[in-house]
Symmetry: C2
């Protein structure tokens, strides 16, 4: 075991905003011997998330910042290659916060989940069956509370969370409007993810297009962007609307908070609710969400798109690339065959 | 009955923002004969509300704008002087949207409530037992969901709604912080309404004072002002905070919405909820709220302050005066002895 070489992506410096390739470095180190209770996980897929911007930020946040010099925090999916935890035999497929590295030595209790859906690709355990899927499921159904016949608008609608939100809303009988950047993503929303309408926020007539797509008003707005995109949606709220604040991808820096049109009067006149959440608070809800998601996948009601980058060398620039909008689908890094 | 002369305050023109004296005119007209099912109410107290700004605004709102030339919409409390509704005998004390006038001829079904608490002054039926009290009760308890030991911050804390919110929060075991304008109102908050701390937003060191008063963070913010006052409070939210959007008194115009610091990141990182409401949606909750309020009044746990202006001539300038901050307590206009 000690002959194995572990490539690790470390956070080299604190990014002022979106982490760029230059804020990381790749090093190699030996894999340590296992202590009792530990397992060795061979990472097969690493996840790339917009939320990583927050994880490496120094400003107040919902989790401790990744330390300078530490392995970049990340969900990963892999296989147990050695085990000193009798409950976790070699060969078990698992997910957890194993970090951007080839191998992780962790306590057995740090395993987030055994992946038991053998009929689904392992990669889905990081996307539609992973944090993205459960985020979409919880945020939409618990906070958005969509009812059949209502209109649900989603920003970053072609993304890993947004595409799932739109499809879950549709499964619940809602009319769905996606907002995405560029003609390719806009087309994806309608053609692949089944949105009833989609609007490209990069066009000059975005506001007019959105108004047309939301003629009956907006009952639920699942917001992954904040910023000007959200300002445009707020103008169309129906009475009793729910705004789910899941992410703020369009805003480059929150320190200090940028200015925007105040929302209080909208919320008051429309008796609307705007609520933020962090999915990690709701881990008790993951199993039920995954049961729904797996069923919809098997029934063909839920589809997903992945963009797989081959090799750990892609990791340092991978988050910056998300914010450049260059990916189509859930971004993953594959380290080895599964 | 037809000899009676009715003084009426009409909306003479559409105010661009806060209605001023010049936007009203006082006229006299005869009181019409009653038709079957109608009653004649002699108004004793007229109410003056910050919300009247919205009622006379032409922009989209939660109620139809008061028409130019119509009697100003208002809650009033009075006594039935003539009746062609057998269910409502002469002498019954009632409240309703009787308007700014001496007499109202209305259908018996338009009576909002018979005032049956003979031990409480009739004036309270427009304030602490009226729309202000039920607004405070519903907004705080239903949307704010305060728990014992939590910190509740209230803006316009010396006002008719705010003072009631603070006391109800205290009754529920919360620590209360009031925000008010000027030393007199600040003192009222602590000395009369029992806030644990109060901060004057008109002082130069408001932000520092607020930070000190909210050292343990803010769990519930009951917002009657929006604007810069709210921006200061948002910096102190605890995880899971609830923001109740009840009014926007500090913002002179919402057309277009003024700029302010965006709130999305606060809401996300703090898993916070911001929700607007319009009390008229919740009329089914008034009786239960009034039972609580009457009990607390009788037990001496809830106190109130009224500012009574004598004579209908005060009406045209009365709303503007609220926004100038000149009143202490619930502003009422008394037309005759009760």
């Amino acid at each position: 075991m000690s002959q194995r070489v572990n490539r690790q992506v470390l956070l080299a410096s604190r990014p002022p905003g979106i982490p760029q390739a230059e804020h990381f470095e790749i090093v190699t180190s030996p894999v340590p011997e296992l202590q009792p209770g530990e397992v060795l996980v061979r990472n097969i897929y690493l996840s790339v998330e917009p939320a990583m911007r927050g994880w490496v930020a120094a400003v107040a946040n919902y989790s401790e910042p990744v330390a300078i010099g530490a392995v970049m925090r990340s969900f990963a999916a892999g296989r147990i290659e050695a085990s000193r935890d009798p409950a976790l035999p070699v060969g078990t497929k698992v997910t957890g916060l194993f970090g951007w590295q080839d191998y992780a030595v962790v306590q057995g209790t740090a395993i987030e989940r055994r992946v038991e859906e053998d009929d689904l690709p392992l990669s889905t355990s990081l996307g539609v069956m992973g944090i993205n899927g459960v985020t979409a499921h919880f945020g939409l159904l618990e906070l958005g509370q969509p009812k059949a016949g209502e209109t649900v608008v989603v920003s970053t609608a072609a993304g890993a969370v947004g595409s799932c939100v739109g499809q879950i809303a549709r499964i619940h009988g809602c009319r769905t409007v996606g907002i995405a950047g560029g003609p390719d993503k806009r087309a994806l929303c309608v053609e692949r993810f089944g949105f009833d309408a989609a609007v490209d926020y990069k066009t000059d007539d975005f506001a007019e297009q959105l108004a047309k797509a939301c003629e009956g008003g907006v009952d639920v707005y699942y917001d992954n962007t904040a910023g000007a995109i959200s300002d445009a949606v707020m103008a169309h709220l129906n009475v009793g609307a729910r705004i789910v604040v899941c992410g703020t991808a369009s805003v480059a820096s929150w320190n200090p908070a940028p200015q925007g049109p105040r929302v209080e009067r909208h919320l008051l006149v429309k008796r609307a609710r705007m609520q933020g959440f962090v999915i990690f608070d709701h881990a008790d809800r993951y199993p039920a969400a995954r049961r729904d998601l797996a069923q919809w996948l098997r029934e063909g009601k839920l589809v997903y798109l992945e963009e797989v980058l081959d090799g750990i060398a892609h990791a340092p620039d991978a988050v910056a690339g998300l914010y450049r909008g260059e990916n189509l689908g859930k971004r993953l890094i594959r380290l080895t065959d599964d």
